[in-house]
Amino acid sequence: MAKRIVKELTDCTQAPPTGMKIHLLDEQDIHQWEVVMDGPDGSAYAGGHFKLRVTLPEDYPFKPPVLNFTTKIYHPNVSNDGKGSMCLGMLRSDEWKPPNKIAAVLAMARNLLLEPNTEDAIETTIADQYKSDRKAFEATAKEWTKKYASGK
């Protein structure tokens, strides 16, 4: 299904989803994408540029892609373990549908920056803080954004 990947890549590079720049990590390997995502305005991540790795499995689109933040980010749905894995309902293998496109996945990921999903959190302490003390959460998120995601 390399054809589909190429097609999606072409679409994404020609008309990138809002707030994103997309390119291959290695020109030889269409299964590894690198995305630079701008923190959405109005969120604690505004002004930050977050790097993500999109890994497409061999049998994509039958198996879901894998998303990892390579830039450190303070977010309930991104694992704070150096891997930066993002858990997204639609990316679970039992829920993944081949018609979903990477652009849609990325758009959803960006939306998650705007509105974290505390029900499905991977970092439960951050999720709790988000629910109970929004101010403190935003302060830390902004601080991290400044510290790790402000560079180019």
Binding site: K3, R4, F62, G89, P98, A107, E115, N117, E119
Partner: protein, 546 residues
């Protein structure tokens, strides 16, 4: 290679003189056999100078006793014995004519043919054992059992031919007993001290020599082995019975689940019990035809119009759409396919057994039921009058080269709408693991809301994707971005038997879905908690239990 002690070894030999009334008149009673005063009769005790030559048919610890005698050979056999056995030595005819009294045979070991003749003769009598001696008058213990002196030249086969143990005593002892067998073979009056004896003993009584070979019995090892073997045997039997029972039970459960799958009560894949793939025979039943322009259906309104009224209502210039029409006789496009018209009905048919020939049903070109310009798997547009497409029972269309591998290897659910493409009465091979998961699921379902089973069941039969998406409430907010490639899903068309599965009303559905997700989560947890080590071990013993 020591003494051939085998299991049993003789520890000692006792010879006594016994008196007993004629069993012909008095019967064989233990108390009738009385030892004769040893000061007046022959007796002998040999402790140690005994070799065990054969342990056949002996049991450890069980002493061997009986009246001593010399087996009678056929005329002409073993002439060498003539000088070694007194003429009037006790023979069978000198003993009561009954097979109910144990005997012990005695004979000199002269040469292999004599020995064989004696052992064959003793085989005819109720002998408990045979005692040989080398006629060399030696007082020394006889040679070891493996000594060439005892060789018969048949490789030891005689030990299994003759069903009694065989011992050897020294030449002098043997000769002495043999001599006394001559004294005590006839009337009391002719015996040593006959006069005195006849005063105490009824002259009609027998007075004969009897012997007892004491056999080692302290060796508890053999019986321990027997005991262990019995225990082992019982264990194996228990295991076999249990295993048989379990397998029977599992087969019952598999059959039950299979019936429920076929009846539409359980959807294996939608429940997340197990991924199911589509067999080639079912796949070939799905229509294959050439895509026709999407313009046949007005694009804008197509959503509502097609949704409300199933495929038939989207008329097309060329040919009525897929569902029923079965172009009666011929499929002009496809001369090489042996199409049977019945098979061209969509899904609800049972997987008619594989007609082998490759793509089975090629329908004439016609528009697909909805506006579906693009293959959702490869994202390529279909070219009218050119692209061959496969239509699933839910009426979603794809390139066969895209959808076929997916259905064969990944899932039995439509990638677009997650409805099962399998015929209603199709059941995938049911495994024990599936049975377990389904049972667990059912148990949890019961525990969760015992008072409200029907609606819960509704939820659980709900296609998986729908149920799951509720697990993250946040997704709601994101949803609008998603359905970029989505095409309107048709009204649920899964065939009749799955009847009850109409969509739940939207508001209660949300709650129910949440429950469904909860159940599934719990199920996974519970399953992780189960499957302990013992199950793996047991699984190895009974492969199918795994």
């Amino acid at each position: 290679m020591s003494d051939s002690i085998g299991i049993t070894a003789a520890l000692g030999l006792t010879v006594l003189t016994l008196s007993f009334p004629d069993p012909g008149y008095f019967g064989i009673l233990q108390e009738n056999f009385k030892p004769v005063d040893t000061s007046l009769s022959f007796s002998l005790q040999e402790n140690s100078k005994i070799r065990t030559l054969s342990t056949t048919a002996s049991s450890p610890g069980e002493d061997l006793d009986g009246l001593l005698y010399v087996p009678t050979l056929h005329r002409g056999q073993c002439p060498e014995a003539a000088g070694l056995i007194p003429v009037n030595a006790t023979r069978r005819v000198n003993l009561p004519d009954t097979n109910s009294i144990n005997l012990i045979a005695l004979a000199p070991w002269i040469n292999p043919s004599c020995t064989l003749a004696y052992m064959a003769a003793a085989q005819m009598d109720p002998v408990k054992t045979f005692i040989f001696y080398l006629p060399d008058n030696s007082t020394a213990i006889p040679p070891l059992a493996n000594n060439a002196r005892w060789s018969i030249g048949d490789g030891g086969r005689w030990k299994t031919t003759y069903r009694y143990p065989v011992f050897a005593i020294s030449g002098s002892t043997g000769g002495l007993i043999m001599q006394n067998l001559a004294y005590y073979s006839d009337n009391v009056t002719n015996m040593p001290n006959g006069e005195i004896l006849s005063q105490h003993i009824d002259p009609r009584s027998y007075i004969r020599l009897a012997a007892e070979v004491e056999v080692s019995g302290h060796n508890s090892l053999p019986s321990l082995w027997v005991f262990l073997l019995i225990v082992l045997g019982i264990l194996i039997m228990i295991i076999a019975v249990t295993s048989f029972f379990l397998q029977w039970l599992q087969r019952k459960r598999r059959e039950a689940l299979r019936r429920r799958v076929i009846s539409g009560e359980v959807d294996i894949e939608a429940l997340g019990i197990r991924r199911v793939t589509v067999p080639a025979s079912v796949l070939q039943q799905m229509p294959l035809y050439t895509f026709v322009s999407d313009n046949a259906v007005p694009k804008s309104s197509s959503d509502t119009s097609t949704q409300s009224s199933p495929p038939t209502s989207s008329p097309a210039p060329l040919e009525p759409p897929s569902s029923k029409p079965e172009a009666p006789s011929s499929n002009p496009n496809n001369p090489n396919s042996p199409t049977n018209p019945i098979a061209s009905q969509p899904s609800p048919l049972p997987p008619a057994d594989p007609p082998l020939s490759e793509p089975s049903k090629e329908l004439p070109p016609h528009p697909a039921p909805f506006s579906q310009p693009t293959c959702a798997i490869c994202l390529d547009d279909f070219t009218p009058y050119e692209t061959r497409i496969r239509e699933l029972p839910c009426h979603h269309i794809f390139h066969p080269e895209c959808i076929d591998p997916f259905l064969r290897q990944n899932s039995s659910l439509c990638p677009m709408c997650k409805l099962s493409v399998l015929p209603a009465d199709y059941s995938p091979p049911i495994t024990n693991a599936m049975v377990r998961r389904e049972r667990l699921l059912r148990r949890m379902r019961r525990n969760l809301h015992p008072h409200d089973p029907p609606s819960i069941r509704e939820v659980l039969r709900f296609p998986r994707s729908v149920v799951r998406s509720s697990s993250g409430a946040g997704t709601g907010a994101v949803a609008p971005v998603l359905p970029t490639t989505e095409v309107p899903a048709p009204v649920r068309v899964r065939p009749p038997s799955s009847g009850g599965t109409s969509l739940a009303p939207p508001d209660s559905a949300a709650a129910l879905r949440a429950q469904g997700a909860e159940i599934r989560e719990r199920m996974l947890e519970a399953e992780a908690a189960r499957a302990p080590v013992w199950r793996k071990v047991v699984g190895k013993m009974w492969p199918r239990l795994g």
